[in-house]
Amino acid sequence: MPTLPHFASAESREDFLQVVPGVQRGLAEEQIVRLPCEIAPFDALLEGGWPRGRLSELYGTRSCGKTTLALHLLAAVTRRGEMGVWIDAANALHPLSLAAAGVELPRVLWVRPRSWQEALRSAEIVLSSKGFALVVLDCGEQIPRWPSHGAWVRLQRAAARAHAVLLLLTAQSLTGSFATLRMRLQARKARWVRVGQQAFLEGLQTVAVVERNRTGSERQQRCWEVGWQLAGNANWTVQACG
């Protein structure tokens, strides 16, 4: 059944319907299914989670916390019994970090392409199987060759058919207007704690800004803090701090 696109606000929806009268007759509004990362401030920021069947982008400079956030999303996916894929174009995935984030490793397919072209092709292949809830394409910091617009359109359509979240992890924004949701992370400061003579890296304070959201409100931002508790059972703590 043909559907109306999702509008960021009721006003923009009304504007659209005025410009194109009669469109709403026989058309149902598209339902967005979301994949929560089970971190309350983030899920609130994203109005429920990352949209399924869409291309989303999470970017930020080195040490901004984007990989930690993506691992939390992957952990949430595997905890629910679904499967996730990590396409490691940057060749940087650290399995110990996956285990620490609580990811069920047998539910993760780790693909290590040798080139950027192989990474894009791997994403398309994985999305053709229609069984993975999350596909993370970790592009790393250096993109040797800028992908064409056609590549994003193909991936976008493949994600829609697979009903999966396709999350692009980059150092800089790559997708332009092709991403349904784009979030930028910016590190504010690292937190260190001193216990006796010894110092420990306790956590990281990061600001998350939703730069583009075709399925909800844009320009929202949250500050969040990720770290670990020195005392106790080393559980990760992620909390809103502003």
Binding site: G81, N91, A92, H94, R112, S129, G131, L204
Partner: protein
């Protein structure tokens, strides 16, 4: 017991047509060697129309038809065709007795009424499976092997002879159809016995007296009282297809073209037997050095020709043959793919068939060693990591999470291999770091955490780890290798 005979007429020709089906409508003959005096072993229907038949000299045949296509008898193709015929039979019954070239006897014991409604339906299925494997076979069902073979040789398609019809069917056939020895056939012809119907009229005792045991056996076969039972054999499960080339191949593209045809036939045979391909063995006959064997592992067993061909192509691109080759053998390692029960309470994963294809495609694209599930080996080394084939890791593996002291506080993005950097220290604390792609003054730091393990091995692991924040804003994990006396950046926290 009812017995079926699977018969492929002109088997050497059928073996060639299985490889080159486009020759099916043309005048083709098979000879032992492509020499003018070599006799024709088999001829296609189109060749028969030109008056060419087995036994004729090749030069005679070529005089009759200028456009005659000549192929020499190929033992490799015959071997593959024999195996394919056995596969077709084994897919329909466990009781198989391979006989001469192009003939397989199959027992129907316990099949009719359970697996198929009637013998005709079963025989049609068997013929269809043979057709799928590229062998146009005739199937006949009768009470004895002789009757079944004769029916299959005389009639096209599927024939089912009821026990009461067998005598009527055999009666008009010439005695030579029962394949008696030459002297016995001459004697019978001298007696005026030309057909099987006349032969069965002879008194058994008198024939025994005059012709001996061979005569008695012949009459018993003619009467359908054959005492030779079906002798089922356990056929080896070998899936191999081969091809020889007239001239050496020294290019990848024609080789891939041939491999695709081999894979098509292998996949059809595997599918007929209910197996999937779990690995491939490729044997290349190089003109200079002889046979060279290669093994191609697979991430997940499957029968998708496209994916298997991708694996082979990738392997050959990475390790091309060192010389031109004139023969190739491809063997598939069969495996039974066990269906898995879906969980009632968990979301469905990818469909197994689609998932198999995906894994195979990914393996062919990136290499099978680059696709799998991450694992954390049970060791104290902080750089240890591994990958296992997806689906082989159990949930128990999750329990091997390392102790909290080892866990990184944030997700670590590793540099592979670790970046060698220069670290300037002041009062035994890192003060400045300089390396490729990073550098700056150390703003904050923590450590060292000394990790010493595997001291008993040749390369002991002795490292002092530091977490540092540089003035460029990056949070890094550094270590100093005590063995190499060198600083490295293990990764960046992100």
């Amino acid at each position: 017991m009812r017995i079926a005979c699977l018969y492929v007429p002109a088997f050497p020709l059928a073996a060639w047509l299985r490889v080159e089906p486009e020759l099916g409508t043309q005048a083709v003959v098979i000879v032992e060697r492509t020499e003018p005096q070599s006799p024709v072993l088999a001829a296609s229907r189109a060749a028969w129309r030109w008056g060419i038949g087995p036994g004729m000299r090749l030069s005679q045949a070529q005089n009759l038809c200028r456009t005659l296509i000549v192929r020499s008898r190929n033992p490799l193709l015959l071997e593959s065709a024999r195996a394919a015929l056995v596969d077709a039979a084994a897919s329909c019954s466990p009781l198989i007795e391979p006989a001469e070239d192009g003939v397989v006897y199959v027992g129907l014991e316990g099949l009719i009424g359970h697996w198929c409604i009637s013998e005709a339906q079963w025989a049609t299925q068997l013929a269809t499976r043979c057709e799928r494997l590229g062998l146009p076979a005739r199937v006949a069902v009768a009470s004895t092997k002789t009757a079944a073979l004769l029916a299959a040789m005389r009639r096209d398609g599927v024939t089912v002879l009821a026990p009461e019809e067998e005598a009527d069917f055999l009666a008009p056939l010439p005695v030579a159809a029962l394949r008696p020895s030459e002297p016995l056939l001459t004697t019978l012809e001298r007696w005026g016995i030309h057909t099987v119907g006349q032969l069965v009229q002879l008194p058994l005792r008198a024939v025994g007296t005059r012709l001996g045991p061979e005569g008695v056996t012949l009459i018993r076969r003619a009467r359908g009282e054959e005492r030779e039972p079906l002798q089922p054999r356990l056929c080896p499960v070998v899936f191999e297809e081969a091809m020889e080339f007239e001239s050496g191949i020294d290019n990848l593209e024609p080789l891939v073209f041939v491999l695709r045809a081999l894979l098509d036939r292998l996949a059809a045979r595997l599918e007929a037997r209910g197996f999937v391909c779990a690995g491939l063995q490729l044997r290349l006959h190089l003109l200079s050095t002889g046979w060279e064997e290669r093994t191609i592992a697979m991430a997940y067993p499957n029968n998708e020709v496209k994916a298997l061909l991708g694996l082979l192509r990738l392997h050959l691109e990475q390790q091309p043959p060192q010389a031109a080759l004139d023969a190739v053998r491809l063997r598939a390692c069969p495996e039974v793919l066990r269906p898995s029960q879906l969980d009632l309470f968990l979301p469905h994963g990818p469909a197994p068939a689609a998932f198999t294809t995906v894994l195979a495609q990914l393996s062919s694209l990136c290499g099978s060693e680059r696709v799998g599930s991450p694992v954390v080996p049970n060791t104290h080394r902080l750089d240890s990591e591994g990958m296992v084939p997806f689906g082989s890791a159990t949930r128990q593996a999750v329990g091997t999470t390392p102790p909290p002291s080892v866990l990184p506080p944030l997700a670590l993005r590793r540099f592979r291999p670790p970046l060698a950097v220069e670290v300037f220290s002041e009062r035994e604390r890192p003060d400045f770091v300089r390396g490729p792609g990073l550098g700056g003054r150390v703003v904050s730091w923590a450590g060292p955490w000394r990790v010493r393990t595997e001291w008993w091995s040749e390369r002991p692991y002795a490292r002092d780890y530091y977490d540092v924040q540089l003035s460029d804003g990056g949070l890094y994990r550094l270590f100093r290798d005590e063995e190499q006396h060198q600083w490295f950046v293990d990764g960046v926290y992100d």
